[in-house]
Symmetry: C2
Subunit: 431 residues, 2 copies
């Protein structure tokens, strides 16, 4: 019989990795609570029509698409935003704004598998709907910082830009939306020469080409100097100037809040997705060149899904990548709690062993019972190998005195304890 | 534009329901920890071959099956056991036993949607691999009881049986496996007449038919009396007698452990799935007739997946159904924690408001910042409507004294508090 395997691009999380995944999930959920984001859980399977409505061609071609038994075109979600937008445009249509929504789960893309990239991967997703203010943008950046810090990352940098700057120039030059989108995609891939040729071919002014050439080189961590430079360069393009001012307001709020995030402002930064309308950002660690998360403002998105016009800003974090970064930065996650193995010295005492295990669990102490029918020495060896904290040996003689033997496995010390004192003995680490 | 909808049979969890789902998920994970089960996270997408290896025809025909872009036959998992068995037969092959594994997540079946039944649904899954002892079976029953209790269910009943009793009779009568399976399926559907006709047609003794007729009527909550009756009835069929003794040993351990679960023993109980080899059980609430969870012993399963012979016992719980039962039993889940809205009295103080919100969150207090640019009265109204606990109003005059105004929204009382005292004021509910 051939050994069964995971499907290409899919992964298993063994206990240690699963533990880390759940650790980050809990942090992400706590960050959501602390910032007032309510959780919604949407299905992994959505209609193809919904998921395709927002995705660019690139994402669309890499979706897991199929038909259900009823012949419907369905797909596995490649991200959360379409599902959340569906909710906001339908069930939650009349909810007062602001509406803060959080999701956590798996998403699916048919990418070539590589380090930190799987075809099923985990995301946390936060959307703030209804606010067009810079404090909304600042909040999304700050909560991302909170999650990175809570996860235990030691070093990470925010790359921040604003699609309104380039878009503002293009609009004033009369560039069509479709051309704008293609140019933005090229810029996202840092193919500036190709992008410049495209805008030149589209007939923009020579002044515009000069400005674009200067703009894509403006980048750095002296954020307010960079913003000043951008403002000087785009002078004359009113919408671009407003965009720079908006970026300035967002960054100013973050500094005023006392949040100490590392930020690099990049004027040539253009996230590929067509729907961004304002501030955009990504988070990086020094260890590798894939973003741990990214997002920005998309004020037209909810309308695209048939909802009321609703300004919105959001972010998605790649949990598998955060895990990889944590492993590379050798960050420590919470240590294991005390655990106990309960061993009956003979067949007839198995019920008593189960009784002791119940007592411990009711006091919130993890307890395993010997279920292999092994002798005490063999069971102790196993408990040692698995680095458990204590073994409790249930014997006839001690039971007559309502007591059991408790053994500190690391110290190799053992003593007799009354069953009624067992919980406080273990919680007080008094053995 | 047509409104987008969820795909038929799929559901959204809005914040209140998502909260309940996550509450039960946390309880399930804590039960796993308390009983020593390590979490593994396996993919939603598995090879069709793997998932079909164990599933009976009924489940197989209701799987979401499709091809990926590489032409592989893949499917959405209809349950967890096949994936866990894959792990145990491959990656975890050499892990010492016992191996206790826990999983939590979504599974997919193309069933007709109805109350408590969706095509995407949530399960918690526990598998104990390597133990063939009755204390293993008892543990799976006890942890199910722990989960039901921890979830807040007030009343639930375990229905317990043992496939070894019927199988033991069939084997001694020389009934072929394939016939046995079909008969067991009929019995699972309580079509006893059809089942009896089948075994009669297969040429079993008249004594056997009589015994089966008696057996399927033996059922009740006086568990040890019921077990005695079963033993008397199956006399002469040695394997069936052993099975009854095994069931007796499991139930005795549970009683000895002090666990007070409600149990009904049902001699005619036969879970449909072909792979059960020993004790089987399901949990019910009085409110409706669908099981909240079920499981049992399947000692040949790991071999079926190409692994070493490994006795195993496990259980899956239907989380959507537990939620439905909780709602019907009007069980209370944990109440909301205190929450705060931070409101700047003017534009220029937005940075200060963000600063105050950071201070609160760093002290683990949920805080939302006003992001709509509303006046204080409008923001307060919103905070009231959403039943938040406190509003903090950031004003110029108070800031000069390093203070803010804090308002208890329920009491409609307000006072000025130094920023450095803010956290202790809120935690001490001193306003």
């Amino acid at each position: 019989m051939p050994a069964f395997k995971t499907v290409r691009g899919m992964r298993d999380f063994l206990p240690e990795e699963a533990n880390m995944l759940k650790f980050i999930e809990n942090k992400a959920r706590r960050v959501a609570e602390l910032y007032g984001y309510k959780e919604v859980v949407t299905p992994v399977v959505e209609s193809y029509e919904l998921l395709a409505a927002k995705a660019g061609e690139e994402v669309r071609s890499r979706m897991f698409v199929f038909k259900d038994l009823g012949g419907r075109d369905i797909a596995l979600r490649p991200e959360f935003t379409a599902s959340v937008a569906r909710l906001v445009a339908t069930t939650l249509r009349t909810e007062p704004k602001p509406l803060r929504l959080f999701s956590f789960g798996t998403v699916y893309r048919y990418d070539e598998p590589q380090k930190g990239r799987y075809r099923e991967f985990w995301q946390s997703n936060y959307e703030l709907m209804g606010s067009n203010k810079p404090e909304g943008d600042a909040e999304i950046l700050m909560l991302t910082d909170s999650l990175m810090e809570a996860s235990g990352l030691k070093k990470y940098v925010f790359k921040v830009g604003h699609v309104g700057v380039l878009r503002g120039i293009f609009v004033q030059e009369g560039l069509e939306d479709t051309v704008q989108n293609v140019v933005m995609q090229r810029m996202d891939k840092k193919e500036y020469e190709v992008a410049l040729k495209m805008v030149r071919d589209a007939g923009v002014s020579e002044n515009c080409v000069n400005i674009l050439q200067k703009l894509v080189k403006i980048k750095g961590s002296e954020i307010f100097e960079i913003v000043e430079k951008m403002k000087t360069v785009v002078k004359g393009y009113d919408k671009a100037v407003s965009a720079v001012e908006n970026l300035n307001a967002i960054l100013k709020l973050i500094v005023e809040s006392g949040c100490k995030m590392d930020v690099v402002v990049d004027a040539g930064f253009a996230r590929g997705l067509e729907y961004y309308t304002g501030m955009i950002f990504e988070v990086y660690v020094p260890e590798f060149d894939i973003a741990l998360g990214g997002g920005g403002r998309y004020d037209q998105l909810i309308e695209l899904f048939g909802g009321e016009p609703t300004p919105a800003v959001g972010v998605a974090h790649g949990i598998d990548r955060i895990m990889l970064a944590l492993q590379m930065q050798k960050a420590e996650i919470e240590t294991r709690e005390k655990s106990v193995m309960v061993i009956p010295i003979k067949e007839e005492l198995k019920g008593e062993a189960l009784k002791v295990s119940r007592l411990l669990r009711e006091a919130d102490i993890p307890a395993e019972v010997e279920v292999m029918g092994r002798k005490v020495t063999a069971a102790l060896e196993d408990a040692n190998r698995r680095r458990m904290s204590y073994a409790i040996i249930v014997g006839e003689k001690e039971l007559k005195e309502n007591a059991v033997a408790i053994r500190n496995l690391a110290k190799r010390e053992q003593k007799i304890v009354k069953i009624e004192k067992l919980v406080e003995t273990i919680k007080g680490q008094n053995v």
